[in-house]
Subunit: 261 residues, 2 copies
């Protein structure tokens, strides 16, 4: 019997996604019932300050759970572990790059993919994190949508193909962007400058595209076709052949993109 | 005669840097006296709502100015225009990549380089913008430091060699980062997804390195050495040979950097 739309949630995993998700759900109107991890101490870390129970075996999962969220590494989703979970609960995973295929054999299943970069050290406001949903039926979609919208303002329904493209886009927007930060940090450090000096620029560059499209706010020597500076920069990178290659290929891409506009 | 350390400032130029600088100085304890632009209407746009005078010829510059800031394109700094400016005023430029060489012949000169990406459409809080200073004498440095610290909390003294490296680092941290955003926007658009969905991720990626070093917070399939996903992504990019090349080179760089740690 449902209690006025209150859902009973179980989480499997104890990594970054599981940690932040457990916290957000425990603060929502829904009930976090159990957290499962092979390492009971890890599970306890997540249930700390909540009413949820920490468990370390799939067979301890309660039959009353409405939704079981697997916040696990991709390879684990393809492993035998999956077969040990109950069939009568809605089962979801949080991966950007795995389809619903591991859930064939589960009558009610879906995807609950939060698009964000999580670290254990840093708090996040889950309310601002886009959650991308997919489900094998309208009834399942309604349930996981109810959960998603209780912890985030931004809920999207996207299919597996779109999710894969989104995950790829996120590699550029997040992982490769962080590499650019890392290179800039090394270059400034080598000149005896503190990374602190670059932080406001990084913040503003991200702030600009919150309101504009990136193509509208591209700046720098490449988009100005300022070959004098471009050549000076390549020369400065003479002792970093790898950065030189990266500088060249990204500069060419900016030039080409700009010509197409 | 100085009025309790109040400096009288002139600005040459009417682009993004000149615009934001004029505004910040007019709100500071110092006095913005004149704005010079070849196009008088452009100069007037900057003096609007200030007590400053708009002028369109170097010979109209007042002899009482303490500091004249040239917020001009690099190529103009190397042009004959420079010879038309008064010799008894401190003269500075705002470029990240030009040395003090154009000011040989000016007894008091320096650099006033704000490290930020400016757009006319978007307001900036100058107080948060690092200003990098260099001067040909201690007396000049003191004057431009007084001006810089009246409009920003972050004032650095760096030499020309450091400034060139910083400008190069900024290309990675800002211009190339924006290219990454642009590619992610295109990839999401091609899948029928709104860029809106990626914006919180971009914001958080920049927020993370405000407190941590980029190397500490690198995430994604490359740093995990997740070749299954890396190959899937390369396959997804089959119709974008240029993005495929960029994906490959940046992935290799992340892998190499990670091995060095």
């Amino acid at each position: 019997m449902e209690n006025q739309g209150i859902l009973r949630i179980g989480i499997v995993g104890s990594g970054n996604v599981a940690t932040h998700l457990a916290k957000a759900i425990s603060l929502s109107k829904h009930h976090l019932i159990q957290v499962l991890s092979r390492n009971i101490d890890h599970a306890k870390r997540l249930t700390n300050n909540t009413n949820a129970e920490a468990i370390d075996k799939p067979k301890l999962l309660k039959s009353e759970l409405d939704i079981l969220i697997l916040a696990l590494k991709d390879e684990v989703l393809h492993s035998n572990l999956i077969s040990q979970f109950p069939r009568d609960t809605i089962i979801c995973h949080t991966s950007g790059s795995v389809s619903m295929q591991p859930f064939i054999g589960f009558p009610k299943h879906g995807i609950f993919y939060p698009l964000q970069t999580f670290s254990k050290q840093k708090e996040v406001d889950f309310n601002e994190i886009p959650i991308c949903l997919e489900a094998n039926s309208e009834a399942v979609l309604q349930k996981i949508h109810s959960l998603a919208s209780s912890i985030s303002k931004h809920v999207y329904e996207i299919n597996s193909q779109q999710r894969k493209s989104l995950h790829l886009a996120a590699v550029f927007a997040c992982n490769f962007t962080n590499l650019m930060y890392n290179i800039s940090e090394k270059l400034s450090r080598e000149s005896g400058l503190d990374f602190e000096i670059l932080r406001p620029l990084i913040k503003e560059t991200a702030a600009k595209v919150q309101e504009h499209l990136p193509a509208e706010v591209q700046t720098g020597p490449a988009v100005r076709n300022d070959n004098l500076i471009l050549n000076k920069h390549l020369k400065l990178l003479e002792n970093h052949k790898d950065y030189q290659d990266i500088y060249r290929i990204l500069t060419n891409e900016i030039k080409t993109t700009n010509e197409e506009l």
